[in-house]
Amino acid sequence: MNFIDWIKQPWPWYVAGPLIGLMIPVLLIFGNKRFGVSSSLRHLCAACVPMKISFFKYDWKKEIWNLFFVGGILIGGMLTAFFLSNPNPVAIDPKLATELAGYGITNTEGLLPKELFNWENLLTIKGFILIVLGGFLVGFGTRYAGGCTSGHSIMGISNLQLPSLIATCCFMLGGFIVANIFIPLILKL
């Protein structure tokens, strides 16, 4: 197996996790920046549609590094799709696969279930809840909580901040409730 084939396989957690953790010192040493992604959404609001809202009246250009960072994430996704993508379907836990098959979701070729996340589905109730409402809650919730998985769960907890631990527990609790109680109901729609 050559290097490219080897790197194309899905990376195990003990490779990916430590590499993600290293983003913290890299950003601190590159320019005294705190690892975090969701603030970029706020900066985009401040740059494009601040209106007269005090929450968006700040010098977003001073935070522009964050927009360069998320631009990089997008390019990274693109490079991976072009050069490093895994040719095999995503390996899914058999219990989840059986459950999803019950709702007619059998295509596991990509990272997202193609039967759910596509343009045609956007105007169905199911698609609207997953794609549009879900996105809205991500944007509203992360800003209300003051951070997301990177800013609170990884950067905040690494800096031993109790509020970040509390926020992370709430992320998980919210996810547990929706994934176990609401997702089955939504997929039946």
């Binding site: 290293l22 705190r34 740059a47 494009c48 968006f56 360069f68 956007l122 509203f140 209300y144 709430c170």
Partner: protein, 188 residues
């Protein structure tokens, strides 16, 4: 709406590229540091006036982060469902080991007073608890389970060719905006 926003954004971008000295002293800016920080994880503590293109090193870091997000499949809706159903250790392993490396890194930076490459002192802030972390945290958890993505993966998914996620990203930006609009009325 999307084209309009991006157009404006590009314009701003060009403007600062022309005036490399970043002198921004409009009086209507929000100068209250508390308001600015309490909701922003990544407030920029660097006081240096760096040229715009020096930010490309953060793009490089972002590219690496994006590749890791895709290759470890943490951007996968399937992986997120497994995590919330306790069917797989993968996500817990990724986040847990990232935190362990983060704790060690921050400890070393504090202990040896390591400076940034520009020679600036690196300092850390203490977060204050507010109820937003509970209410907002729950709401974000709901959204995370529905979309299978937090903000970082949204960008990585779009890059990987899942174009419909552009709608999710725009919706997330709208969510952030609505939060800013109703913020003063919400319990914190």
């Amino acid at each position: 709406m999307p084209t309009f926003s991006f157009h404006l954004f590009l314009n701003f971008d060009l403007k600062i590229m022309n005036t490399t000295t970043n002198t921004f002293r409009s009086t209507d800016l929000n100068t209250d540091f508390e308001v600015r920080t309490e909701n922003s994880e990544c407030v920029n503590y660097s006081v240096l006036d760096k040229p715009l293109l020096s930010n490309l090193k953060f793009t490089a870091a972002g590219i690496l982060f994006g590749i890791i997000l895709v290759k470890s499949e943490v951007i996968s809706w399937f992986r997120i469902q497994e995590m919330f159903r306790l069917q797989s250790f993968h996500m817990y392993g990724v986040i847990g080991s990232a935190i362990v490396v983060g704790i060690i890194s921050i400890f070393i930076i504090k202990k040896f007073k390591i400076r940034s490459i520009d020679g600036e002192e690196i300092h850390f802030d203490q977060k204050k608890f507010n109820r937003g972390q509970v209410y907002g945290g729950l709401l974000f958890g709901f959204g995370w389970a529905l979309t299978g993505a937090c903000p970082g993966p949204l960008f990585a998914l779009i890059g990987s060719g899942f174009t419909v996620i552009i709608v999710t990203l725009l919706s997330a930006i709208a969510g952030t905006w609505v939060y800013g609009y109703v913020r003063v009325k919400l319990p914190h």
